[in-house]
């Protein structure tokens, strides 16, 4: 491997303290500096009286070498020894002067750690989480008002082309991945269910498990999580990048309402797309389960259909589907909100995209739990 350290050039840099004269010579360059540094640190300005520094034999000097030279000289000076004579080849005098204007060493960065610091961080994070919730609520209010206004006068405020584009982007383009994953989930669920239920001789109830499980919970949940990862993150990244490029500022100065232009098409688009995706995912999950039942349990498709018909009602299906628009709203709201929080640097886009996905997946699961409680209270 190429390394500056190995590229040693003869003659090497050297120095020698000879009575009251410090002789220096060779190539005082960055390659030599790690070695010179350690050696020079052992050089103590012992004794008193004047000292002469003779650097006239230096053959090459770069800024790292010049710094070491200067540091050594200052070391003698602060050690109480006067420098009476300092010789250096004329060629390097401007460089030396340049370096001399520099200040002392770096200020030490403040140390992290300690119980106090940790407590402080916990406190900071708690306050931040509270503020985040408060601001998100404010944002929810603003978006709600703007949505109502948009529907009140759709001609001015509703961007139909952008909305259709979002439905395509978040809905149609997500079909392959959602379909594949739902199918596999159906396969896994059927396999595990059949394995357990076989012990009771109740293999046929695998179909009940599949029907209720997929339609009520898993179909909608898995779709929402995929979409949060796929589209929620995209919303944050798109809007965030626009903020970095000052596009959002430009829009405002032109008089465009950023909520109308950027947020509403994404929210309404996803609210339309996610229930459709959920329906599709339900069907794919059931197909996956049916395939598995056929191969694992020998249950033919007509039997599967009959048993499924007995197991579920329209309500089972509707309960799963009704949650989808709510999930969609939360995912897109969080995605857009975090996008607008991006600061004007590239690192912040990544940070907030991650945060948007974590928050929307968290909220989706919390909401799903809330729905379960609500439905059980209502007896659905």
């Amino acid at each position: 491997m190429a390394s500056l350290d190995n590229a040693s050039a003869a003659p090497n840099a050297w120095f020698k303290l000879d009575g009251d004269v410090l002789h220096l010579g060779g190539r005082w360059t960055i390659q030599e500096s790690p070695r010179l540094d350690t050696e020079l640190r052992t050089l103590k300005p012992e004794g008193s009286g004047a000292i002469t520094i003779d650097a006239s034999k230096i053959e090459r000097l770069d800024s790292a070498g010049a710094w070491l030279l200067l540091r050594t000289r200052r070391g003698f000076e602060t050690g109480g020894r006067k420098i009476t004579n300092f010789t250096l080849p004329d060629l390097y005098l401007p460089l030396m002067e340049n370096i001399e204007q520099g200040k002392g060493p770096l200020a030490e960065p403040p140390r992290q750690g300690g119980v106090r610091k940790r407590l402080e961080r916990i406190g900071r994070a708690t306050v931040h989480a509270g503020q985040q919730g408060y601001r998100m609520l404010g944002y929810l209010g603003r978006v709600t008002v703007e949505t109502i206004e948009a529907f009140a006068s759709p001609k001015n405020n509703l961007r139909v082309a952008a909305l259709i584009h979002q439905v395509e982007e978040t809905g149609i383009n997500a079909l392959p991945i959602v379909g594949l994953l739902a199918f596999l989930i159906g396969v896994v669920l059927a396999y595990q269910g059949a394995d357990q239920l076989k012990r009771f001789g109740a293999e046929i109830f695998t179909i009940n498990l599949l029907g209720v499980g997929i339609l009520r919970e898993i179909g909608g949940l898995i779709t929402a999580i995929i979409v949060a990862g796929r589209s929620g993150s995209a919303f944050t990244a798109q809007i965030g990048t626009m903020r970095v490029n000052e596009e959002i500022d430009a829009m405002q100065t032109i008089g465009l309402n950023t909520v109308d232009v950027l947020v509403l098409p994404r929210i309404i688009g996803l609210v339309i797309a996610l229930p459709l995706l959920t329906f599709y995912s339900d069907i794919m999950g059931l197909i996956g389960g049916a395939v598995m039942c056929y191969f694992q349990l020998g249950i033919t498709i007509p039997v599967f259909m009959r048993q499924l018909n007995d197991a579920i009602t329209v309500n089972t299906f509707m309960v799963g589907l009704i949650k989808a628009p709510v999930f969609a709203f939360v995912i897109s709201l969080v995605g857009c909100y975090e996008g607008f929080q991006v600061e004007r640097n590239a690192a912040s886009v990544g940070l907030l995209t991650t945060r948007a996905v974590v928050e929307s997946v968290f909220l989706v699961i919390v909401l799903d739990a809330a729905f379960s409680v609500m439905f059980s209270v209502l007896g659905i």
Binding site: M1, A2, S3, L4, D5, A7, A9, A10, T29, I30, Q31, S33, P34, D37, T38, R60, D62, S63, A64, W67, R71, P94, L95, E97, N98, I99, Q101, G102, K103, G104, P105, L106, A107, P109, E343, R344, N345, A346, A347
Partner: protein, 263 residues
């Protein structure tokens, strides 16, 4: 590597470009271009927007693969070079990108120390000293060291980027529009800084610029990219060039104003 560090010699090209062709799709940017940059000189590269100034720079430092042609830096080919050979070259040059291109997750001091960590075995205290020294060299206050790039102004970011470019004491410095986006006073200071560093460190500088004042103040020779070709010369020589674009550039209103102050 040691034998390359000969004393200043005007006729010793550090960068040698021969028959360079760059094209994106059907659009030819450079059409068999030749260029020499000699040791110890400051070469300014000018040209209209989209004339391929930055592409030329990127091609020389190996970020862009040319379609045809040969490029030698320190007598070693950069186009199509294998990575180990590029690494050896990369230690000997420093590049300042347009907006500094500082690593945003690191402080300014850490940014300067990245090349030091990568290529040398310096101790931590020495690295801190070197970082502080480089900052002073480019005219930044010591407290900049612990700041993050996002906390700096555009001019400070450029200076910090220059400090990082100078970290390994390179012999060759590439600057991509070093004064663009700076106010005239900062731009002048930056020109002065480059001139001063070039003199005291004995640098060879390849500078892409739009700034006529920089050209006048800093550059020994100028390469004009026009009609996919390069014309080189001093300002006086170029003003005599009959090419309409070059005439416009150096004898237009801005050109005259900038050059008038020279005399």
């Amino acid at each position: 590597m040691a034998e390359d560090k000969k004393p200043l010699d005007k006729k010793d090209p550090v960068i040698k470009v021969r028959g360079l062709v760059n094209a994106f799709g059907d659009k030819v940017i450079h059409d068999h271009v030749d260029l020499d940059v000699y040791r110890g000189e400051v070469l300014g590269v000018v040209g209209g927007s989209g004339a391929g100034k930055s592409v030329l720079l990127r091609t020389i430092i190996g970020l862009n693969k040319p379609r045809e042609g040969e490029i030698e830096v320190f007598g070693k080919k950069t186009a199509f070079a294998e990575s180990s050979r590029m690494r050896a070259l990369e230690m000997r040059w420093g590049v300042l990108f347009q907006d500094g291109a500082l690593f945003s997750a690191q402080t300014v001091a850490e940014n300067i120390q990245v090349p030091l960590r990568e290529y040398t075995s310096m101790s931590e205290p020495l690295m801190n000293e070197i970082a502080a020294m480089k900052l002073a060299l480019v005219g930044l206050p010591p407290d900049t060291a612990l700041k993050y790039p996002s906390e700096l102004s555009g001019g400070m970011r450029k200076r910090a980027g220059l400090a990082r470019a100078l970290a390994l004491d390179p012999e060759l410095l590439f600057l991509d529009e070093p004064t663009s986006g700076l106010d005239p006073i900062s731009a002048n200071q930056f020109d002065e800084l480059i001139k001063q560093l070039q003199k005291s460190l004995g640098l060879t500088v390849f500078m892409v610029t739009h700034d006529l004042d920089s050209l006048r103040a800093v550059c020994d020779r100028i390469a004009v990219l026009v009609n996919k070709k390069i014309t080189t010369g001093t300002i006086a020589e170029l003003r005599k060039n009959p090419d309409p674009w070059i005439q416009d550039y150096f004898s237009g209103v801005r050109g005259r104003a900038a050059l008038a102050t020279a005399s």
